[in-house]
Symmetry: none
Subunit: 214 residues, 2 copies
């Protein structure tokens, strides 16, 4: 290549020692760093756990410096900030949502994007996601509030076309309580933090239901 620019392992080099990375590449790196940060953090946790164990067995080390990680903060996110609609953009988006409420098609998305671009940086993906979320959430709002009726009411807003809602009286109360009326849940949920409801693949066996024949 007689060019001044050339690629080396996918990297654009200007031949002067300057390398150029795309945003995607930066993002990849960022994620990997994040991964390692997470792993390291876990290792530190283990380290602490083991140390603690040793402590209990009389192997404590008096040296206060024996825990080099205690104050080490893992900055797992050289994170890239996410897009946020400008007030002007949001206004337009909202008004459009009121009108159609349906997700605009690709062409429409493009038009909207171009229009909104006048008020600030924005991509089609941003617009697309916005409508998707807007719709999903407005729907959930309506579906989430009504469900609280803690009694009577047989067939309210059955969203699914499946058979009627049928739960044992006690179960219904229980569910209702657990889902919407137990103030503790939220707190405890937080308490256990990420533990959330980890998916244990071992006991999860999805029934084959897709018919690929055809």
């Amino acid at each position: 290549m007689g060019e001044e620019e050339q690629y080396q392992n996918g990297v654009l080099s200007d031949g002067l020692g300057v390398k150029v990375m795309t945003d995607e590449q930066m993002e990849m790196l960022r994620k990997q760093i994040s991964v390692y940060a997470t792993i390291c953090e876990s290792l530190v946790q283990m380290h602490k756990a083991i140390s603690a164990q040793q402590d209990s067995t009389g192997m404590r080390l008096a040296n206060p410096y024996n825990d080099p990680f205690s104050s080490y903060a893992f900055h797992k996110i050289p994170s890239r900030q996410r897009w946020a609609p400008k007030p002007a953009q949001l206004e337009i988006l909202e008004s459009m949502f009121e009108q159609s409420s349906t997700t605009p098609d690709r062409q429409r998305i493009r038009e909207i994007t171009i229009q909104l671009a006048e008020h600030g940086p924005i991509s089609e993906t941003n617009v697309y996601n916005w409508f998707q979320n807007r719709r999903a959430r407005s729907k959930r709002k309506q579906a989430a509030l009504p469900p609280i009726p803690n009694h009577h009411d047989s067939a309210k807003d059955k969203k699914t076309k499946s058979d009627e809602t049928q739960v044992d009286e006690n179960l219904a109360l229980m569910l209702n309580h657990m889902y919407f009326q137990s103030p503790d849940i939220g707190g405890i949920d937080q308490l256990i933090g990420q533990t959330e409801v980890p998916m244990s693949y071992s006991s999860y066996l999805q029934v084959e239901q897709h018919d690929l024949s055809g």
Copy 2:
């Protein structure tokens, strides 16, 4: 209600003591059970932690029965959460996608499924869906407008597609290593268990994404 069937709190009762629940309701229950299982487990962990601490302070109880939970297994998942590819599986899927990019036929799907099953629960439907989505999204991203003609476009402009992989030589090697060749990752990943690296291995870019730079 002179019917033999009637609803009580959303539950269908046949009047003979038999109750019928919908899948949805079962799912709700399932989730709650799962949540409680998780909470309980957390409490046990705390209990153990405290016990251990007391041990180290000489408050050990010699009674071997002082730990009623040690052998108690929490079946936290009557779960039916959606499938998610394990890192190992994703790696394989991605590599396969790179090669063919076309949806594998029924037979091929089956083979792949069997292969991937070694790394975790997975069904043919999962594999099928994955390819469908993978392609649809890779296409969408391609069809999306280049970040809105924001004039200033530097070095990389042609961006023919996936081959526009341009990373610093060192970074390329590093990424490559981190992504596909580090034998440790798998192990550590297992080791840290649930912590599960909280990232979307989606190296497949969703280019064009504007941050709030303006």
